[in-house]
């Protein structure tokens, strides 16, 4: 490979590209940056902060439940904590941290200079932060929502939940949905249109398949959540009757709308995570993945069937037996594509030569715990069993095995895998193993006993329980486990800090991985790749002939202006050059204008909401007004 010293024109190209793509220094530069890597890292840090908040809430609940008839938390505080714990984990941690990781890696995986809509990307981040702050503003104001993370009416109607607590929740989620939807559109178009030449649809890294399917699920499912919340707020604030049976409404409508969103949302959380599994498995098994096509198609199948199972959350509501049977069968069916993927991963590992590094450990933990969660999940498809255990700790155990085993472990695998790319430094393996051991052990100690307490009849969401029910010892064990898990998270944070300060330099490709993000420096330059790579197979980094020289276009490629290459959807043939926007302040202005609107709605100041909407209009037009493209003379 020719070095820069041998090819001085490359240094000139790099210098031109830096001038075109680097973020301006100073606060204004930071606020206006559209660099997907900076935005991705911010997403990850912010989502992790919410993860810590949710963890503190969980620990407070576990302290309360450690012994029977404890008075550590009041019933109201306990309700607020379980509501915000679930809400934070689902909406402010699980989806945003995966958006953050995807934000960082998708343009690198596709070999492009940025996302398809860089300013929209910045906007998604600001809306996420502001919506999170909006919901958490309920704490200092002492009006914390306490309706549970699925917020059932009639408990959450104006009659039974007066005060603004539920409105923080409902309006906050409508606000947040804007961020998630914009992000999903951005991912789809980036993956469809900005893939490197030659990266045909059947050569895309599997993580991109997962992101496309997830993003389509977001686009179809999130409107149901928005609709549910809009109707709820109209009931609460304007005296309408959607959920009010005395006015011809129905509380079950909330449950339908919520779960039409809610069950697909399980897959919206799960699919990017298993995309990370599909990424990590072949790299650490040291061979190409087995069953690429089967895994890709299974992902699509999961995305489709995921919309047909929502009623299994409502088996106890007295629906007709035929609909119970239909949704019970659909719930069994969705295990098939998941099993296909698990067998493909296992086959890859069996036929490979596994390298036992930290990311791989989290993948193994995923197999172990997700399969337990999957098996308890299939049990709910049996309607009479569902009736027996619904609203008990068995359900709590199940969904923590699915969400922590199925999503959080892969997220930790992904973080360990990609952090060296982001920071340029390796994480110490001993600290990695230690954090893994504590997290894995603590998790199982916390949640496995909940299966038993659930079968013994312990109901979820009660702030305390009487002694002598046979639940005492198990609950104490769970609390101890929760603190071990928390200690593991602290060790993980220490290991990241340690790697930033003292970590070994990562080099371009420390894992000897095959995908494009590892074929540039760690961390990558602002423009990602000097020249857009050309792809000839699913594993470009493992091709013998791969070198800097295969970048087809030579050193002058796309260094005249802020541009990236658009390709055709299916075959990734080069099609057009896309001018990419400069850094911009409009996305932040638009996000703030929306925040003003939502604060106005929350406080009942309609003039403020109208003012916010006017600002939204101005910011949108300002954003979209065409600007002259900056060209750096050759």
């Amino acid at each position: 490979m020719a070095t820069v010293a041998e090819r001085p024109e490359r240094a000139i190209t790099d210098e031109r590209l830096v001038r075109l793509w680097e973020t301006r220094p100073g606060l204004l530069g930071k606020l206006g940056t559209v660099d997907h890597k900076e935005i991705g890292i911010r997403y990850i840090i912010t989502a992790f902060a919410f993860f810590l908040l949710a963890g503190i809430e969980a620990l407070l609940m576990r302290v309360q439940l450690a012994v029977p008839e404890n008075t550590f938390l009041s019933p109201d505080a306990y309700n607020a904590f379980f509501t915000m714990h679930g809400t934070t984990m689902v909406f402010l941690f699980a989806t945003p941290i995966q958006s953050g990781i995807a934000n960082y890696v998708v343009p690198l995986l596709t070999g492009s200079r940025d996302m398809a809509f860089p300013r929209l990307n910045q906007f998604s981040y600001w809306v996420f932060v502001l919506a999170g702050l909006f919901m958490y503003a309920s704490f200092p104001l002492g009006q914390v929502p306490a309706g549970g993370w699925f917020n059932y009416v009639p408990l959450t109607s104006a009659t039974y939940s007066p005060g603004p607590g539920i409105d923080f929740w409902g309006l906050g989620l409508i606000f947040l949905t804007i961020s998630t939807t914009a992000g999903a559109i951005n991912f789809i178009v980036s993956i469809f249109k900005l893939r490197a030449p030659g990266m045909t649809i059947n050569r895309m890294p599997l993580f991109l398949w997962n992101m496309v399917v997830t993003s389509f699920m977001v686009i179809f499912a999130l409107p149901a959540l928005t609709a549910a919340n809009v109707l709820l707020e109209l009931d609460r604030k304007f005296g309408m009757h959607f959920y009010d049976p005395t006015g011809g409404g129905s509380p079950l409508l909330w449950q339908h709308l919520f779960w039409i969103f809610g069950h697909p949302d399980v897959y919206i959380i799960f699919l990017p995570a298993i995309g990370m599994v599909s990424t990590v498995v072949p790299v650490f098994a040291r061979r190409p993945i087995i069953g690429y096509t089967a895994i890709a198609l299974a992902t699509v199948a999961t995305g489709v069937i995921g919309f047909g199972v929502w009623v299994h959350h409502m088996f106890a509501t007295g629906l007709a037996p035929l609909s119970l049977a239909f949704f019970g069968v659909a719930s069994f069916m969705i295990t098939i594509p998941t099993a296909v993927q698990i067998f493909a991963w296992l086959a890859t590992i069996l036929h490979g030569r596994p390298v036992w590094r930290t990311p791989f450990l989290y993948v193994l933990a995923f197999f172990f715990d997700f399969i337990i969660g999957g098996i308890s999940g299939v049990m709910f498809g049996v309607v009479p069993f569902d009736w027996q255990v619904t609203d008990t700790y068995f359900v709590v155990a199940h969904f923590h095995y699915v969400l922590i085993g199925g999503a959080v472990f892969p997220i930790f695998a992904g973080l360990h895998y990609w952090l060296p790319k982001m920071t340029g430094r390796m994480i110490d393996e001993r600290l990695g193993w230690l954090a893994f051991g504590l997290i894995f052990g603590g998790f199982n100690l916390t949640f496995f006993p909940m299966h038993i307490t659930g079968l013994l009849g312990m109901p979820r969401r009660y702030y305390t329980y009487p002694p002598n029910m046979g639940w005492d010892g198990l609950n104490l064990l769970e609390t101890i486990g929760a603190f071990i898990l928390a200690l593991g998270v602290l060790v993980f944070m220490w290991s990241v800090l340690h790697s930033l300060l003292h970590g070994e330099p990562a080099g371009d490709n420390p894992w000897h991985a095959s995908t494009l993000e590892w074929q540039t420096t760690s961390p990558p330059p602002p423009y990602n790749f000097r020249s857009i790579p050309t792809v000839h197979s699913r594993d470009p980094g493992w091709e013998l002939q791969y070198s800097d020289e295969t970048a087809q276009y030579g050193d002058e490629t796309l260094s005249r202006a802020r541009e990236t290459l658009g390709t055709t959807l299916h075959d990734a043939r080069p099609e057009e050059l896309w001018a990419m926007p400069e850094d911009s302040g409009w996305p932040l202005v638009l996000a703030l204008a929306l925040a003003v609107t939502f604060v106005g709605l929350l406080g009942g100041f309609l003039w403020l909401a109208a003012l916010g909407l006017a600002a939204v209009l101005v910011a949108t037009v300002g954003w979209l007004w065409p600007t002259q493209m900056k060209v750096v003379p050759l």
Binding site: A116, A184, L222, L234, G239, F242, G566
Partner: protein, 201 residues
């Protein structure tokens, strides 16, 4: 790999049309998610309707079609006008574009005016019962989409006067057109569900 032409031989992005353009994809996906929102609201309409014996509830007449029928025609004509204007810009006939956008705008605005008149004739309010809540929420949400479409139309009209569009570059015209046709198509579903179905079913 076969020979790839030199990169600067490719067209610039904003000159691409339809499904080649990232902006087109952005608009189409926005429309898909908005369509899903309307589908959820119409699901709510039929769900609540199925839980009561009489629809509309006792004391409320079946929806009067005297205004909604011409409103439907007006909205469809505005789509035709927009389409005609867009055909103009493709052949660099900017005058036809200006006229098409203008007619489309006026028809859309008269739709909203008629909707306001129709609202004033209603004997029930959003707070009366679930039927009223559904009626005003769904038609109101659609009306607000018409308003957004009119604002978008106004912006591209100003840009037309400023000479921003040519036969080669008019993606914004296409995208606003997609949105406008979508708003009209949604009205057909709203009209069929809220106005026609109580007479038919």
């Amino acid at each position: 790999m076969s020979a790839v032409p030199a990169p600067y031989a490719y067209p610039r992005g904003a000159e691409m049309e339809g499904s080649h353009a990232t902006g087109w994809w952005g608009m189409v996906l926005l429309i898909v998610t908005e369509a899903s929102l309307f589908a959820c609201l119409l699901f709510s309409y039929f769900y609540l309707r199925a839980t009561v014996p009489a629809w509309p509830p006792v004391g409320i007449d079946k929806p009067d079609l005297t205004l909604p029928l011409p409103m439907t025609a007006i909205l469809l004509l505005s789509s035709v006008a927009y389409w005609w204007g867009e055909r103009g810009v493709r052949d660099d006939r900017i005058g036809q574009l200006e006229l098409g956008l203008g007619i489309s705008f006026l028809l859309g605005a008269s739709f909203l005016t008629l909707q306001a008149i129709e609202y004033s004739h209603k004997t029930f309010a959003p707070q009366t019962n679930a039927y009223g809540s559904l009626f005003f929420t769904i038609t109101g949400l659609h009306g607000s989409h018409v308003l957004v479409g009119l604002i978008m139309n106004a912006v591209v009209q100003v840009r037309t006067w400023l000479g921003h569009f040519t036969a080669r570059r008019h993606l914004a015209i296409q995208n606003v057109g997609l949105y406008w046709h979508f708003v009209d198509a949604v009205w057909l579903f709203v009209f069929a569900s809220l106005y026609l179905s109580p007479h038919l079913l």
